[in-house]
Amino acid sequence: MSPTIAVVGAALAGLSAARALRDQSFDGRIVVIGDEVHAPYDRPPLSKEFLAGTASLDDIGLGAPDDEELGLEWRLGTTAVGLDRVSRSVLLSDGSEVRADGVVLATGARARRLPGSEGLGGVHVLRSLDDAIALREDLASASRLVVIGAGFIGAEVASTARKLGLEVTVVEAMPVPLAGPLGAEMGAVCAELHADHGTRLLTGSGVAGLVGTGRVEAVELTDGTRLPADVVVVGIGAIPNIEWLADSGVALGNGVLTDARGVTNIPGVVAVGDCAAAWSVSAERHVRIEHWTHALEQPATAVATLLGAEGAVPASVPYFWSDQYGARIQFAGSRREDDVARVVEGSCAERSFLVVYERDDVPVAVLGMNQPRLFTRWRRQLRSAVPAPS
């Protein structure tokens, strides 16, 4: 009988894994299980073009014309509820199970919710297509938006809502937005985009709670300020979808724990994309990367290992982008707290610059705003400088 590989999670990482399996000549059965009813779609536009109404569902589909030839068996609208490590079976919500010789875990992450916001109308998170459709509908008849959290998704939603003509306030608990990924200095520069475009940004502001019965009316801050709101978007990070694996014996932490190749502690089971926390040789700990390009590229290595290939893990440099207020922000590399940021091109004031982060005078990361050409060169250069982890 031909072997079966089950892919759990039917989004970017899952689809990339299925494509990589065929690319690497796996001709057995591939079953792709996804709890959403939608065929795989792209998430980045959900806070950008799709929310703005300039991209359609068709535009954001991840499927390609050639995908028919992959011969995938889709189980959409079906939730995986457990994994039996002995028989390597994936247990499904409809009571059936998929017995597999190999399993790819690609269940991604979900948006963290604000405690106490359950059931209150007008309060949104943004992770799925359904979230985006609901938010878009709600924004259409709203005039005041409060975004809780000035991370990338919060900033993008604020930017899109400004474009739609709403009055927008962004509330951030930390003194500087994006300090985690970009460092305080550059986080502050990127956050200036809000003021440039008429969005009010309140930093160092804790949220005490939401006001309203049935539907939200205001956001109350810890200092007592009330921000009136027709719609509230909560953008305070994401949680990996791994609870369904609790009894499976798969090692879990802040994500499914894997080695640098994406292999879990259970033979024949790999994890990819946003749900996986892979061992990072340079950071000397498990790191869960939540970037699009990672979910696209890393599955090739994981499934190669699943198919029995050995050899070096290809060198990779984390990369992500964010589009806000028409500005293109791109970041690549691995930044640490005491790295020194240096502007090598353009200027922050002009909102067009390239910044290189250096550690002991060696470039380790690069940030560009509206500098795609130069950024791409630097990104490539970083990639060629990274020693492949063995």
Binding site: G61, A64, W292, Y319, Q330, P372, R373, T376
Partner: protein
């Protein structure tokens, strides 16, 4: 035919953009010249700003890859190919013929 530049002005591994009805990106791959639509079919990025890797260019934004010879997508998120255009090199000058594909079809 639209003049692009002197062959010496576009060294191997480099790309340039020319304004036409639709902007066109011209690449030098180890001495061979290729021309494709400059605008990525995914969103609004200039492929002349992208990264040349052999005969394919990687979009500077979301890393879609296009084959310079055929215009075909070799990596998502783009789904639609870009158009190719014929390149003519004459007397040390590079020209493109928009509307005529690289393989000669009109």
């Amino acid at each position: 035919m639209i003049p692009v530049c002197l062959t010496t002005a576009l060294p191997p591994g480099e790309a340039t953009r020319i304004e036409a009805e639709e902007p066109i990106a011209v690449f030098n791959v180890d001495g061979d010249f290729y021309a494709i639509d400059d605008t990525c079919t995914h969103q609004d990025a200039s492929l002349a700003d992208g990264w040349l890797d052999g005969c394919s260019v990687e979009c500077p934004l979301h890393a879609s890859c296009f084959d310079l010879r055929t215009g075909k997508v070799s990596g998502p998120p783009a789904k639609t190919p870009v158009r190719t255009h014929r390149v003519v090199v004459q007397d040390g000058m590079v020209y493109v013929q928009p509307g005529i594909t690289a393989d000669g079809a009109a």
